[in-house]
């Protein structure tokens, strides 16, 4: 962590606001994306993830604030700033009448230094070797998604921005994406900014995650830390036949369907179990009702509809 905090953030969003008419889509968003991380951008549908990403790549104007990529403003030095970025914004749409390879050649021609060899390397990385010379109109959604990732990686960007990249991928494809994002991050030092509304996915993929809701930043946290706290303070369910008796024996907890729920640490469990068994209570199972990030996320953002 120390090293990433010392290095300059790859992207800095400074009080970014987007207004269309009287509607505020993104409101005063300030966020630093540290170098060398896989950084998640999490929010429910309509939270403003895609809107933020569109501003980061200069597709839409920024109403207020600024975005710096590698220290250059996307507003004032667009070409320089965007040259460090590779991105997929929503579904990666390709020229359907061209082959996958011809599509990649299109983007290769727009930057310098992308060799044939590099194109082949990227094709292999996303696993499209067999179909790359077919027309894109014959591709499945997942294959287009892979081509989208290939297109974004061609010029070895410092910052890779992926908007819901697992959309349309099969479990195998999601797994592969996760693995090569990791590899990219570790071996080439690429920073990855990835949006999703699926928390379970973020937990597996990301080092940190920013949570956005209704266009506002709600929280930024490191995921590994959350895991630790979950282990420390777990709600545990004792599946027993007589929950009331069990509560009387232990002296605390809540009687729920299926048994007794109480907060215990890992170390306390064997002693409590022994207490129950000696007290004539049948224990069928003991399991932690860990409050996963999912619950915390829902708690944080839930209860409010899309809007």
């Amino acid at each position: 962590m120390l090293t990433t905090e010392l290095a300059e953030p790859v992207a800095r969003l400074q009080g970014v606001t987007k207004k269309i008419g009287s509607k505020t889509l993104v409101s005063d968003l300030t966020l630093d994306i540290p170098a060398g991380q896989i950084f998640g951008f999490l929010g429910p549908n309509g939270a403003g993830k895609t809107t933020t990403i569109r501003m980061m790549v200069g597709l839409i104007s920024i109403s207020r604030g600024d975005i710096l990529i590698c220290g250059r403003s996307i507003k004032d030095h667009f070409e320089e700033a965007v040259s460090h970025v590779g991105a997929i914004v929503e579904n990666p749409e390709m020229y359907k009448f061209l082959t996958g390879y011809q599509n990649l050649r299109q983007y290769a021609r727009m930057v310098s230094g992308v060799t044939k060899q590099r194109i082949d390397e990227v094709i292999k990385l996303v696993g499209l070797d067999n179909r790359i010379h077919d027309k894109v109109k014959t591709y499945s959604l997942g294959m287009r998604q892979r081509l989208g990732v290939a297109q974004a990686l061609l010029h070895r960007p410092k910052l890779l921005i992926l908007d819901e990249p697992t959309n349309g991928l099969d479990p195998q494809g999601i797994r592969e994406l996760r693995d090569y994002l990791r590899r990219l991050c570790q071996q080439e030092g690429t920073t990855v900014f990835v949006s999703s509304h699926l928390l379970s996915e973020m937990e597996l993929m990301c080092d940190s995650v920013a949570i956005i809701q209704n266009g506002r930043l709600v929280d930024v946290r490191q995921l590994k830390n959350i895991g630790d706290t979950v282990v420390a303070a777990a709600e545990t369910l004792f599946e027993v036949d007589q929950a009331e008796t069990a509560m009387a024996l232990i002296g605390r907890g809540i009687v729920k369907e299926g048994g007794l729920v109480l907060e215990v640490t890992r170390e306390e469990i064997p002693a409590l179990n022994e207490l129950l068994v000696n007290g004539g209570v049948k224990v069928y199972g003991i399991r932690a009702l860990s409050r996963s990030l999912e619950d915390q996320f829902l708690e944080m953002t839930g209860g409010e509809g899309i809007g």
Binding site: G58, L59, I60, S61, V82, V89, E93, M110, V111, S112
Partner: protein
């Protein structure tokens, strides 16, 4: 950063890897070659055959319509296509300013119009050469132009008209991102402009002198020193140039400022 020629190359690939483009060029070639054949076989006897340049000019007068329509189709799709395919968002996140991307599109559209015009000339003139009277043109030179020079001035002025119409289509495509609208509007102008000139006759209305439609057909100057409403060729060219710059300016301003949320 890549080279600007790479951008034009990209745009050309997008135009020429579509079957539609080749169908249009094929139709144009066939039409241009077919007209002289039709004239040849419909002549009641061989002494009534037209000469080479007359035949060619008749051919051009028909085939150039197609040429304009096809160029308008390409011009209209150049920007609107990217929006309807959704590829615009991958195109605009490269290290190129939007102005340069638009310029590459405009240039490739102009290159297409030149190619299609060359196809028209090659097939039209080739066929006219084979299917015309050998005795030469009777086309009287009222104007002091030789038949060949007259034909090429005629072509040039028609091209000016095509160029403006295509630029208009390009602008509509940039502003409304809808190729159907761009094609429809341009076709409407192609067919309605003569009517508009009749209704808003510059001899009657002073302001009609500043209308685009009044000056789109510069061919009147081939047989006369003064154009519609008594203006000079220079005046007509100035009006056309002003509209041309306006169209380009609007295309560029809108494209540069636009929020792309396709």
């Amino acid at each position: 950063m890549g080279k600007f020629s790479g951008l034009i190359h990209n745009e050309n690939i997008k135009i020429y890897s579509r079957a539609r483009t080749w169908v249009m060029l094929l139709i144009l070639a066939v039409m241009s070659a077919l007209m002289p054949v039709l004239f040849y076989f419909s002549a009641s006897d061989k002494s009534h055959l037209m000469g080479l340049w007359e035949t060619f000019q008749m051919t051009v007068s028909v085939a150039f319509f197609l040429n304009t329509i096809f160029t308008v189709v390409v011009a209209s799709d150049s920007i609107a296509g990217e929006f309807s395919w959704g590829t615009i968002k991958l195109l605009l996140i490269r290290p190129w300013s939007r102005s340069k991307i638009l310029l590459s599109k405009y240039i490739s559209m102009v290159l297409f119009s030149l190619l299609s015009t060359v196809v028209l000339i090659a097939f039209g003139l080739g066929s006219a050469y084979l299917f015309s009277s050998q005795t030469g043109d009777v086309m009287t030179s009222l104007t002091g132009w030789s038949p060949s020079a007259y034909s090429f001035m005629d072509l040039l002025f028609r091209y000016v008209e095509l160029f403006l119409t295509a630029t208009l289509a390009f602008m509509v495509s940039s502003v409304f991102r809808a190729s159907g609208l761009a094609i429809g509007l341009s076709l409407f102008i192609i067919f309605a402009k003569n009517l508009i000139v009749i209704i808003f006759n510059p001899d009657r209305y002073e302001w009609a002198k500043y209308l685009l439609f009044t000056h789109m057909d510069l061919r009147v100057y081939l047989s006369s020193d003064t154009g519609p409403g008594g203006v000079t060729l220079g005046f007509s060219i100035a009006v056309l140039a002003a509209y041309y710059l306006l169209f380009l300016l609007i295309s560029w301003i809108v494209f540069r400022k636009r929020d792309v949320a396709a």
